[in-house]
Symmetry: C2
Subunit: 347 residues, 2 copies
């Protein structure tokens, strides 16, 4: 049984997923993969549906059967979950320490039935379907009152933490709100109290006016390298209109999101030589009924530099390329994909 | 000129070190190393002192000359610093954004004159000298009123961010306090207000009583895997008596620190198969005169698992091995180095 444990100094929660680490063969330096390797039999490929737990959602042909071929996006529970969905939600003190039972959901979104297709190669329509699957799962998990937050993220490439090659992303539903999200909620609330405006809406205005960090924009979304980028080519994608919850996205908006997202990952591939990358959807937590200060967004980060230890030890980052220089470089070399070329200006 | 930029949502400061990234040849995916590679001529080896900037501190033979051989620990400015020590401390608004000029110090501590010696192999006496050099540099940088915090850290191994093989650590003096340190200061202050005790002192007591996560202790220091470990075998080393500032360490304490530190990194080498690792010294900032709530410590973390992107994107960690299981494993296999064997108890 995994546990959630709270650091008594900073209040940060950690999952101790002993079930994953204590399995036979899990020696130091040989931590278990999300899924074991199956040689040529990939558990995510169409036709191998029997190798995964039963699907919780699939977009599939009308005539096909559950857990059989005929799908184009498929969501299954993680075979070796960090948290389990069954069991009581216990909160216990252990001396001065605080512990919670590791109740949660851990699912895998299989993004394509074919083994070799990457998001950067997919038609926009397929990416729309993936985002729509995220929304459906989020709404469904929302109904479970034990969960306070749903994290949706992707690790693309082994260096970014992926353990299977077949394109997939992950969903984790948690009984707590992650620390970074709490910080964003607190920070944006402080700003709102002071300015009576959403800080993210103000950032969008500033980025459009400055026009030196914008990578792309369309009717409903904008993508830019944030002013205080932690990493080279760190990219944020935001809805231009204020929206707090990702799960409120409408079908007419998803196509704009899919287009801007595809163009961003395609540029990573063509301009940055196909690096590993991560994305995370940041959304307001379930527990907030109304959230005028928070604006959902996607953080998309190519893994170009080795992450030195002091960065996660201090929360302090050194970025060797300014977001303005990164914007010039990523747009220069990929002119044909650029829908809204921004001014080429170094400062 | 590098800049410090503040994220308007979370308040996190980032160094945009454009001087490092905009140098000729610094293409995407080919970020500049801390020091260029010199083939067989290592700039940190004894005899190659002319390849580094002039030393700011060296422990050396009485008859030797500055910037010549004859030293055993040597501290030099980083040749490609993330921040520069000269120049005015400007604070500027850029629209809604906040910027500060990148004033700071960035130094390298060369830990041994010989190329192939690692901390795990050094005599304790040499490790004492290294920690004493940290203290001397911290006290000296303390005199510069522009700096509010000094970070001391080490990246051992390429996967942990090191760019040169020769054993070295780094010092960065900053005009701001890093976010993680601020969180620890806030958290420990809240605890102090509530309990009128230092949270770290309470943790030490709890760890000694539970005795399932303690790796080693001696008269003045204790090393344990923290209750809410983010990473497998994450190790904290604390002085047993309350001390807020690392730079207050006394000469009689340094030998106990060197011994416990050496034993910890030696166990990493023998039990965990010589992994890359990082350590960071966490100390109270210069700006605090008295700090009854904060307790300096070292965080020492082997890099055994790939860090997935959602972890730095959410501040939420999944650790596949409980700190109790990690304690059993690291002590079992290295019985001859263990000075204070702890009880072998899984729960």
């Amino acid at each position: 049984m995994s546990e959630l444990r709270k650091d008594p100094v900073t209040g940060r929660w950690v999952i101790i997923a002993s079930e994953r680490g204590n399995r036979p063969g899990a020696l130091p330096g040989e931590f278990p993969e999300e899924f074991p390797t199956h040689g040529s039999r990939c558990p995510f490929c169409e036709g191998n549906e029997d190798m995964t737990p039963n699907e919780v959602l699939a977009f599939r042909d009308r005539n096909s059967q559950r857990n059989k071929p005929g799908w184009w996006v498929r969501v299954v529970p993680n075979k070796y979950p960090a948290m389990r969905i069954e069991g009581p939600t216990l909160r216990v003190g252990e001396g001065m320490y605080d512990m919670m039972s590791g109740i949660g959901a851990h699912e895998v979104v299989i993004e394509d039935p074919h083994h070799d297709v990457r998001m950067s190669d997919m038609p926009e329509k397929q990416i729309e379907e993936i985002f729509w699957a995220f929304r459906e799962r989020m709404l469904d998990l929302h109904r479970d009152r034990r969960f306070r937050y749903v994290m949706i993220f992707k690790n693309h490439g082994a260096q970014a933490g992926a353990t299977l090659e077949h394109a997939h992303s992950q969903i984790i539903a948690l009984p707590i709100i992650p620390k970074r999200v709490l910080e964003e909620l607190d920070g944006s609330q402080n700003y709102y109290q002071y300015k009576e405006r959403c800080v993210f809406c103000d950032i969008i205005h500033q980025e459009e006016r400055d026009n030196v960090r914008v990578v792309e924009s369309n009717e409903r979304f904008i993508a830019f390298h944030p002013y205080a980028s932690r990493f080279p080519y760190e990219t944020w994608i935001l809805p231009r209109q204020h929206e707090s919850f990702f799960s409120d996205i409408q079908i007419r908006e998803v196509s704009d999101l899919a287009r801007i997202f595809k163009n961003c990952v395609s540029r990573f591939k063509t301009v940055l030589n196909d690096p590993p990358y991560n994305f995370i959807i940041h959304t307001a937590p379930f527990t907030e009924d109304d959230c005028p200060h928070y604006h959902w967004h996607i953080e998309l980060i190519p893994r170009l530099t080795r992450m030195a230890g002091f960065e996660w030890g201090t929360g302090f980052y050194i970025n060797p390329i300014s977001p303005e220089a990164a914007t010039i470089r990523i747009l220069n070399r990929d002119a044909e994909n650029t829908e809204t070329p921004t001014e080429k200006n170094t400062n």
